[in-house]
């Protein structure tokens, strides 16, 4: 891999490249402008077409809009994530539905028996986590497609969030993500990225 990257090789126009990747940034702070349910629905309506294993679509999104719901989340976040999450226009808890296989006869109709390949819970947990994490990748892109910024956070107690918000035992929490319009204080210099030579090898 010694080829130089040439943006002209992409079919996606430069404005869209910038909106989704090149100019987009992870945001820590946001303006007061709200994120509406209609925007959330438009984002989901776009990214739901992204591929998942068996078309299982295990990602589930819990929006914390009420002050009471937000207050239940904060103790499970690392201290550095609390203030920015308390102030974010929208907070989404992103989880995998471990029992996603129940809907496979509808979602994967040409092989309805796929549901029965997934009777083992440990296998399902692994598959649900993998496909839902792929879908979070699509979701980050979708949030940006709506002209918003995402602030995904790794620093939280996933087991604690699952106990708090998914006591049914059929979900695993993967990520907490703030969403909103970024404000001017949201970011500093862009962090370095690996080169193609670091990442891609050829045999």
């Amino acid at each position: 891999m010694t080829a130089l990257a040439t943006p002209g090789l992409l079919a996606l126009d430069r404005a869209a490249q910038d909106l989704l990747f090149r100019a987009a940034r992870t945001a820590n702070t946001f303006t007061d402008e709200p994120v509406t349910d209609a925007q959330v629905a438009a984002i989901h309506d776009l990214i739901r077409y992204g591929p998942t294993a068996y078309n299982g679509q295990p990602l589930r999104v819990l929006l914390l809009r009420s002050p009471a719901a937000r207050a239940r989340l904060l103790p499970h976040l690392s201290s550095s994530n609390r203030a920015k999450t308390a102030a974010a226009p929208l907070v989404a808890v992103l989880a995998a539905d471990v029992d996603f296989h129940e809907r496979l006869p509808e979602l994967y109709p040409h092989r309805p028996q796929a549901r029965d390949w997934l009777t083992d819970r440990a296998t399902r947990v692994e598959q649900a986590r993998f496909s839902a994490t792929l879908q979070i990748g699509y979701l980050v892109v979708g949030v940006r497609a709506a002209g918003l910024a995402a602030g995904p956070m790794a620093g939280f107690d996933a087991a604690g969030v699952t106990r708090e918000f998914f006591p049914d035992g059929r979900h695993e929490t993967l990520l907490v993500m703030n969403v909103g319009h970024p404000d001017s204080a949201s970011w500093g210099a862009r962090l370095p990225r690996l080169s193609t030579e670091d990442v891609v090898r050829t045999l």
Copy 2:
């Protein structure tokens, strides 16, 4: 969540929405047109800006271009995935670098001590798998941004592929993905997608 999805709520234009999600499809068969190293570099140069935990960027991509390399992969695929992979213009093995933390002092320079938070291998495996899977989500979008189609495959022996191609013990194989220009036989009807009401709840 009863809001109806309104594409006009997105900043991304409709042609880009179609290219990346609405008209894009998982491909099983491809034309003979090759996928060049320059295209791969352009895709990586776009998607490398997607966020990862600690900016760790653990995804590694192994392109199998030689017939000998392709032949080493096929026995590890499920029988239904072999013929289409043998014939695909490009086959990529997507893996997580479990030792991604070694580069954190460079990639996360404002907190170089992050490397030392990740001395436990089991923690690193979990983090590497999570962030690399997010990056595979970005990669699916990036392949489509290049006007190509991706054919990700869940049916393969991940441990076998890891032993075959990553004997160093520092990588975990996550997915095998075919890439190329889709041909007219590549797909049938689109599979059903969950509604926003199925996926999004609000507290």
